[in-house]
């Protein structure tokens, strides 16, 4: 019994363990070496017959060999069990190419999401949200906004009238300007954003009889058209991206003077000119202006002391622009197949 012999045994048992084809084979081999009558066990027993000096050396070597064998067979056994389990599991194959079961998730309407996007931009600019009734007093909807009784905007063609005297379904969110001014009661600054439903007698690919607007109003000392331009430009960049260009054109609204409309780069052609933008490269996005002195007075403010600007923006038009929709009516058909597309990432974490 010596180290050389032990090395030989080591090789033998390793060979046996590696070549074992079954757990039975492995156990037989283990038994052969480590069993009660096994080779290593026998050699252990034979130690006592050796002289003391040699016994120490051989004993140590033999112990190492035993440790090695125990570990070897344990590892091989584990390995073999794992393989056995693997083959058993492989027989239990499940078709993972089947479609996954999606979680039942909810979805906000794209108009709600777009409205919140706009609200968020202006809340960050310090605007507070204001609301007014949808069934509005004619005075707030028209007269207070400088739209006299014989103005074409008051024609039956444009407004829905109801069987409540002197009431109308509001045709714009602008009456909230007056209500807010009254509520602020001459306090400054007024800085509000009024989202809400509005109603007009129109129904085609770019008009629906009920839609959503947001109205903005700022009143303070020394508010100017330059401030309005700055605010709207900031809004356009926040909503449509920093690379968007803006253009301002004079326009007309009874309740603002001067009035202007803002155009932004056409999304379809990126400003090159196409059918969507009638070749101009621009699409109109909102109407705005300096609050008309009479409107300031109607809200209780003195136009000689303060000035203000106002703007109104259609949420649907913005949604169409942001999501790339070409027919406004699609937004109100509530077709799940159409809406389900809005589950996908829009490219904007905030939307």
């Amino acid at each position: 019994m010596d180290g050389e012999q032990f090395n030989e045994w080591k090789d033998q048992m390793t060979q046996q363990a590696m070549n074992a084809e079954s757990l039975t084979d492995l156990q037989a081999a283990r038994h052969q070496w480590l069993g009660r009558r096994g080779t290593i066990t026998g050699a252990m027993k034979g130690l006592s017959s050796l002289p003391i000096e040699k016994r120490k050396v051989v004993g140590r070597q033999l112990n190492e060999l035993r440790e090695y064998a125990l570990d070897l067979f344990k590892r091989c056994e584990e390995n073999m069990e794992l393989q056995a389990e693997t083959s058993r599991l492989q027989a239990e194959t499940f078709d993972m190419t089947l479609p996954g079961l999606w979680p039942q998730t909810g979805l906000l309407h794209p108009v709600t999401r777009t409205r919140r996007l706009v609200e968020d931009v202006f809340l960050r600019m310090g605007f507070s949200l204001e609301y007014g009734p949808e069934i509005e007093d004619e005075w707030y909807n028209f007269e207070a906004l400088n739209i006299p009784a014989n103005h074409p905007a008051r024609d039956m063609q444009d407004s829905f009238f109801i069987d409540l005297p002197e009431r109308v379904l509001r045709t714009h969110t602008s009456p909230v300007q007056i209500r807010a001014m009254q509520r602020y009661n001459r306090a400054l600054p007024v800085r509000i954003l009024a989202p809400g439903r509005v109603f007009r007698r129109d129904d085609d690919a770019t008009h629906v009889p009920m839609f959503f607007q947001v109205e903005g109003l700022v009143i303070d000392h020394g508010i100017s058209l330059a401030d309005l331009k700055g605010t709207l430009q900031t809004m356009a960049h926040e909503l449509l991206g920093d690379d968007i260009k803006t253009r301002f054109r004079p326009s007309y609204f009874p309740f603002t003077e001067p009035s202007m409309e803002m155009d932004v780069t056409c999304a379809a052609c990126r400003g090159e000119g196409c059918r969507v933008c009638k070749g101009t490269g621009w699409v109109e996005i909102l109407g705005s202006g300096m609050v008309h002195p009479q409107v300031l007075r109607n809200g209780g403010y003195d136009p000689h002391r303060v000035s203000g600007f106002a703007f109104g923006l259609g949420i649907e038009r913005l949604a169409m622009r942001i999501f790339g929709i070409d027919d406004l009516r699609l937004l109100y058909q509530n077709d799940m197949e159409f809406l389900s597309q809005f589950q996908s990432y829009t490219g904007r974490p905030g939307l």
């Binding site: 039942q104 949200l129 069987d163 007698r201 629906v208 054109r249 002195p293």
Partner: protein, 779 residues
């Protein structure tokens, strides 16, 4: 409005190219809807000479003309024209030419003879040249001259959309040219002369408010004359049809300077002209051939017999001028614009005159327009003699406002010099007089500094104003607490897996009936609905929601979980006509789906309500009832109470018969008012997790008929046990013993690990309590 580049150039000779013009128009607030080249269709039309005319061998009314073209080439063309003999110069449209009416010339076989193209009449070219078939050209131009050259070449035509403030003064070339010249800093040429009225007693005006200024002039003119081609060309280019000189000139003056004139055939007028209100029931056949019944709301121009014209809107046929007219009465008036606007809408006559008078005209034009007209008549050699004239009313004084350049600068947010501001205004026709600005007589739109600021901004361009961010104290923006609460509900419903829909606020009686809803007495009706399905404002979100279900299930069997939070409307004595309603709907049909069918249960709708009640602090309580809204299944219905104890809504299953009308078999519904008055306040109550193990016991109980889960749950609550945490149903059996429920009771203590004895004690107490309602334990 249609504007012609050529026409504008008459006022501004140095007008830049059309692209620059379009940019300037946009900058000035004139929206360019479209831009096209006019006259290109005349390109191929050339002047030829007739060399021979023979009768068509196979047709009595046709002739064959041999024509010589510029290169001497001879061509034969068949014509039906009575005129045209050898030596005449005529206009020839070779094949391929498109005529004004859209016809395209080709080579046609006319009774056996090939005829390439056509010899043209003046009408086929869009002009009036007197009574002749083909247009015999008496000009000295060479053969081969293009017709386009004799009309002065092509022109660029702008279609403009005018905002109401521009329409007040801008519907004419003069005003447009003035704005362009002002913003381009170009010289412009507009000489106007004032007509000198004498005092012939020719007319009277019964109400100066309706017609503040009325001018009338008598002219004798040459009959059967032709309007000069250059005027016809300008009228044509803006889409006006030339008729006869007397009429064409009124049209020309209208578009040139914005003053509608009207010419009456003086020989058909009986006595003095009267500007008066119509009698109720008075008849007038207007120039469009329609006989109209007038009322005292209408202003008419009448003679001593009858109404001759609807004032400022449209003339009548009786005294209309024709090419044979030799004696005219020319009216130049200033009417009350509101009155004309209303008449125009009432009678639905959107004539050019009404569209001008109705927006407002320049009172001063009552002097300048007839002078312009007379001048043109003279130039054309058509004026035989000028007769009497009369002006009734006085010119209004020109309005002044104080000049406040500081105010203009502040409003625009610019630091421009006062001179620059004044110069811009002066270019637009404003004048400074001492400390005032005098407003031009056509600018009814200008009231104060705001309006001047707009004009200054327009002349220099809005892009010249540097954007700036306004500065106010940095207070945070605030959402409304009410609406923030609505948003919480929307977010929570979405988190619960429901999809938000937005439906229109309108409904109708049949739509409500279909959903099983009787018309409430306090419904708000729409007086002028767009369609029959939208005659009232919805008193409930249910019909719209069910229609959404129907529309979605029309094409596929889709299971739906939807909600809407939106207003419903009712008339009330107070101002409160809108209420927020929440509706939640879920189709309950089983849908095949691997690996397990998707079988939503009514309790899932209830579960959403229970969860929302906690999540949104709705403060709801509920009770099963056997009757409620007619459209609900009476066997599966909960009434919901708000925190104050009043009924706020219902939850249950829709009557299956109604569900089926909307292509659904079974539908779970939860609907309730969301009170606007009460924003839920709550303080968070968060405790530490329990550290001791729970003890779970399942109890199978035999439940007699009529005992509900609620009955058992209430008993468990009566125990007031500190350790019984939950009691939930986990299984249900039917057997010969009746019905049995297995409940899982979960015990847990805040203080210690529970012993069996402690748990058993609670269970015994519980069993004793439920025994009173006939519940026994199943062995």
């Amino acid at each position: 409005m249609i504007a012609s580049y050529r026409w504008l150039q008459r006022f501004v000779p140095e007008l830049p190219d059309a692209n620059t013009l379009e940019e300037k128009l946009t900058q000035l607030g004139w929206e360019v809807v479209s831009r096209e080249e006019w006259g290109t269709c005349y390109e191929p039309v050339e002047l030829v000479e007739i060399v021979k005319r023979v009768k068509h061998p196979n047709a009595d009314h046709l002739s064959v003309m041999t024509i010589r073209r510029q290169n001497g080439q001879l061509t034969s063309v068949v014509t039906g024209a009575q005129n045209g003999v050898a030596g005449d110069h005529v206009w020839y449209a070779p094949p391929g030419t498109q005529l004004v009416d859209g016809r395209v010339m080709e080579t046609v076989n006319m009774r056996g003879i090939e005829s390439p193209g056509m010899l043209l009449s003046s009408q086929e070219l869009g002009f009036e040249a007197g009574l002749q078939d083909i247009w015999i050209w008496d000009g000295a131009q060479n053969l081969g001259t293009r017709f386009l050259d004799v009309v002065g070449g092509s022109d660029t035509i702008f279609e403009l959309e005018l905002t109401p403030n521009l329409a007040v003064y801008g519907q004419n070339m003069h005003a447009l040219a003035q704005e362009l010249a002002a913003s381009l800093s170009l010289p412009w040429d507009f000489r106007e002369t004032e007509f000198f009225y004498d005092h012939a007693p020719m007319a009277k005006v019964s109400d100066a408010h309706d017609c503040p200024i009325y001018g009338i002039t008598e002219f004798w003119i040459q009959p059967n004359a032709v309007t000069p081609l250059w005027i016809q060309v300008l009228l044509r280019s803006i889409g006006q049809r030339p008729i006869n000189p007397a009429v064409d000139l009124t049209n020309f003056v209208l578009w040139d300077m914005g003053q509608p004139l009207h010419a009456f055939d003086a020989d058909k007028v009986n006595g003095m002209i009267e500007v008066r209100r119509a009698w109720d029931g008075e008849k007038l056949t207007t120039l469009d051939g329609v006989e109209r019944t007038l009322s005292s709301q209408d202003l008419v121009i009448a003679d001593q017999t009858q109404a001759l014209a609807l004032a400022g809107v449209m003339g009548g046929t009786f005294a209309a001028v024709s090419s044979a007219t030799v004696h005219i009465l020319l009216e130049a008036a200033h009417f009350d614009s509101q009155h004309i606007f209303q008449t125009m809408r009432r009678h639905q006559i959107f004539s050019d005159a009404a569209l001008h008078f109705g927006k407002g005209t320049d009172p001063h034009a009552v002097l300048s327009a007839p002078a312009h007209y007379q001048n043109l008549l003279e130039k054309m050699g058509l004026l035989v003699e000028k007769g009497g004239s009369q002006l009734i009313g006085t010119m209004p004084v020109r309005r002044h406002i104080s000049f406040n350049p500081q105010g203009i600068k502040q409003l625009l947010g610019v630091n421009w010099a006062e001179d620059k501001i004044l110069e811009g205004l002066e270019r637009l026709g404003f004048e400074k007089e001492e400390e005032d600005i005098v407003i031009p007589s056509n600018r009814h739109d200008v009231e104060g500094t705001h309006d001047l600021a707009e004009d200054v901004a327009r002349v220099y361009g809005l892009e010249k104003i540097e954007p700036h961010m306004f500065m106010v104290s940095a207070t945070p923006g605030r959402p409304s607490p009410h609406v923030a609460y609505h948003e919480l509900i929307r977010n929570s419903m979405t988190a619960a897996g429901y999809w938000e829909v937005i439906t229109r606020s309108f409904s109708s009686v049949p739509r409500l009936r279909r959903a099983g809803i009787e018309l409430p007495p306090d419904v708000v009706r729409v007086i002028n609905p767009l369609r029959d399905e939208e005659t009232l404002l919805r008193p409930s979100l249910l019909p719209g929601m069910l229609e959404t279900v129907e529309a979605n299930r029309a094409r596929r069997d889709i299971s739906l979980s939807l909600f809407e939070l939106a207003p419903v409307y009712q008339r009330s004595d107070q101002d409160h006509t809108e209420h927020q309603e929440l509706i939640v709907i879920r189709t309950l049909d089983e849908r095949m789906c691997y690996p397990r069918p998707d079988s939503p249960h009514l309790l899932e709708v209830k579960g959403v309500m229970e969860w929302m009640n906690q999540k949104c602090g709705m403060g709801l309580s509920w009770q099963q009832v056997s009757s409620g809204p007619e459209f609900m299944h009476p066997g599966r219905l909960l009434v919901l109470y708000g925190a104050s104890g009043s009924v706020v809504g219902y939850l249950g299953e829709l009557r299956p018969g109604i569900a089926q009308r909307y292509r659904a078999k079974r539908v779970g519904v939860w609907f309730m008012r969301i009170g606007d008055d009460r924003v839920v306040t709550a303080t968070p109550n968060i405790r530490h997790p329990l550290r001791y193990p729970e003890v779970v016991r399942d109890l199978s109980l035999i439940i007699p008929q009529g005992v509900s889960y609620q009955d058992i749950f209430e008993r468990a609550k009566q125990l007031r046990s500190q350790i019984l945490q939950t009691l939930t149903p986990v299984d249900h059996y039917h057997g010969d013993f009746g019905q049995s429920w297995t409940f899982r009771l979960v015990f847990q203590s805040e203080e210690k690990t529970l012993t069996d004895q402690e748990v058993d004690q609670v269970i015994q107490q519980f069993l004793q309590l439920v025994e009173n309602i006939g519940v026994t334990i199943r062995q």
